[in-house]
C-alpha cells in the first residue's frame, strides 16, 4: 500500500496547493458603468445560453463573480446574468476610464511564482503519470517537486523527485530548459511474478526539455530525463524517462 498512499498524498498535496492558489485574497463586488449602447446578460456562463436582458448605456452594473471568461453581474433593476469579459471590458469606472480586466498573457510567464502540471509518458517501458509543482525563485531558476506513478507489466514504480530547472530564455514562446535533481524510486514487482521484496532506491537525474506557451496561463511541456539508480549492490542502473503534458502558471 506504500506506493499507493505515497502517490495519493502527492496528488492531494498538489490539489491543495491548486486550491490555495485559486482562493482570492479579497471578495468584493465592483460597480462599473456601461459605455457601449448596451451590454447583454445571458442566463449562464457560455455562448449557448440565451440573452434575457440588456443593460443600457450609462447604467451602473455591479460585478459579482467570475467563471472562466464570464462575469456574473447585477443590473440596476436587480436582474442577475452573465456577461462575457469582452463586453465588460467596454465599461467605465467612476473616473470615466475604461475598466482593465486582468487577462493573463505570455508576458506573465517570466513574472510567475508557481507552476504546476500533469504529464504522461514512458518510464523504462512502463506507462508513467506524474504531477509537478515548481517555484520560480529567479527569472531563470526554479525548484520543482514531482511525483510519479509508473505501471509496467513486470513491476510498478513510484517516484519522488526534487530538481533544479534552468530556463535560459524565460521570455521565449517556445523555450528549452535543463534540469538536475535527486529522488527516490520505489519498486514493487508484479504479483504474478515470483514474489520478491519491494525496493526503495535513491536516484540522480539529469534532463532536457522544451516548453511552449499555449494561451492564458497554459503551457505544453515535453521532457526527457535520465535517472541513475543507485542500487544497493555495486551496479548502478540507468533509466530513461520521456514525458509530455500540460502545465499552468500563476
Amino acid at each position: 500500500m506504500f506506493r499507493k498512499s505515497f502517490f495519493l498524498v502527492g496528488l492531494l498535496l498538489w490539489l491543495a496547493l491548486a486550491l490555495l492558489a485559486a482562493c482570492p485574497h479579497a471578495r468584493a463586488a465592483e460597480t462599473v458603468r456601461v459605455a457601449d449602447p448596451y451590454i447583454e446578460l445571458r442566463t449562464g456562463p457560455g455562448v449557448g445560453y440565451p440573452i434575457f436582458y440588456v443593460i443600457d448605456k450609462g447604467e451602473p452594473v455591479t460585478v459579482l463573480k467570475r467563471r472562466t471568461d464570464w462575469f456574473k453581474v447585477r443590473a440596476p433593476g436587480g436582474q442577475e446574468g452573465w456577461v462575457h469579459h469582452q463586453q465588460l471590458a467596454r465599461t467605465l469606472d467612476d473616473d470615466g476610464q475604461t475598466v482593465a480586466i486582468p487577462e493573463p498573457g505570455i508576458g506573465d510567464y517570466s513574472q510567475r511564482r508557481w507552476e504546476m502540471g500533469v504529464l504522461g509518458g514512458d518510464f523504462s517501458g512502463a506507462r508513467l503519470i506524474s504531477v509537478y509543482l515548481g517555484y520560480a525563485f529567479s527569472d531563470n531558476l526554479s525548484l520543482e517537486l514531482s511525483l510519479g506513478h509508473a505501471v509496467g507489466s513486470h513491476s510498478g514504480n513510484s517516484l519522488g523527485n526534487v530538481n533544479l530547472t534552468h530556463r535560459p530564455f524565460p521570455d521565449w514562446r517556445v523555450q528549452p530548459f535543463a534540469l538536475i535533481g535527486v529522488g527516490i524510486l520505489h519498486t514493487t514487482p508484479s504479483t504474478t511474478l515470483i514474489r520478491s521484496e519491494d525496493r526503495t532506491d535513491t536516484t540522480l537525474q539529469a534532463g532536457l526539455g522544451l516548453q511552449a506557451y499555449l494561451s492564458r496561463r497554459f503551457l505544453i511541456r515535453a521532457e526527457y530525463r535520465n535517472h541513475v539508480v543507485q542500487m544497493s549492490g555495486d551496479d548502478n542502473e540507468e533509466i530513461d524517462q520521456w514525458q509530455l503534458g500540460i502545465a499552468f502558471f500563476f
Binding site: L11, G46, R67, V99
Partner: protein
Amino acid sequence: MAARHSVFLLMDRPPARVARAACAALGLALAGLGSAAAEEESPQPIRPEVERRPINLAAIDTEDFELGVFFGVLSIEDFGSNLVYGARLAYHVSERLFVEAALGRSKGDKTSYERLSGSAELLSDSDRELTYYNLSLGFNLLPGEAFPLKGWAFNSQLYLIAGAGSTRFAGDDAFTVNFGAGYRFLATDWLALHLDVRDHMFDVDLLGENKLTHNLELTAGLTVFF
C-alpha cells in the same frame, strides 16, 4: 494645477496604500449610509479624496474550481457490481473545457466460478479492494437549461470526458483508460448535481493471461464551485 497634482499623487501611491484607502472609503460609505441625507443638506466645501475608489476586477471572486463527492455502482468485470464512492476536483479552463482529477474506491465480489465451486478463492479479502485515480479532460458538449417546474429554470451541461490513470485491484496496479459522459445540473451558481457514466478499461492478468476488462460505473455526485 493643485487638483491635477493630487490626482497624480493618488495614482503614484503604492497599491497597499490605495487598497487601505479603498477599505477606508468603504467603511466610511457604510458608516455614512444613515447620515447620507443630513450630509446632502450641508455639503462640505472640500471633497475628501478618499471617496475615489479604484475598480479592481482582479479582486472579484473567481469560481473556476469544482470539488465534490460521488457514489454509485461499479461493475468490476467477473467480480460483480458493487458500491463505489470517491471524490473529484475539476478546474474549468474555459466555458467548454475542464480538467478533472478523481479518486474512487470499491470492492470486488466473488466471481461466478468461486460461487459455484464453493471452495477455491481466487483473491484474498484485501486483494478484492479496488482503488483508482485518474486525470481526465472534459468537454461541455451541450450547455443548456432545465425547466423542472413552472417558473423554475436551472442551468445544465452534458459533457464528454476521457482520461488516464491507475487502478489497484487483485494486488496489482494497472494502467487505466476511462471515458464516459455526464450531466451537470446547477442547482445554484455554485452547487451542482452530477450523473455520470464511465467505462474504466484496464488489463487484469489474474490467471497468468492478460485480459482487457471493461468496468462500467454509474454514479451520482454533488459538487461545489469555488
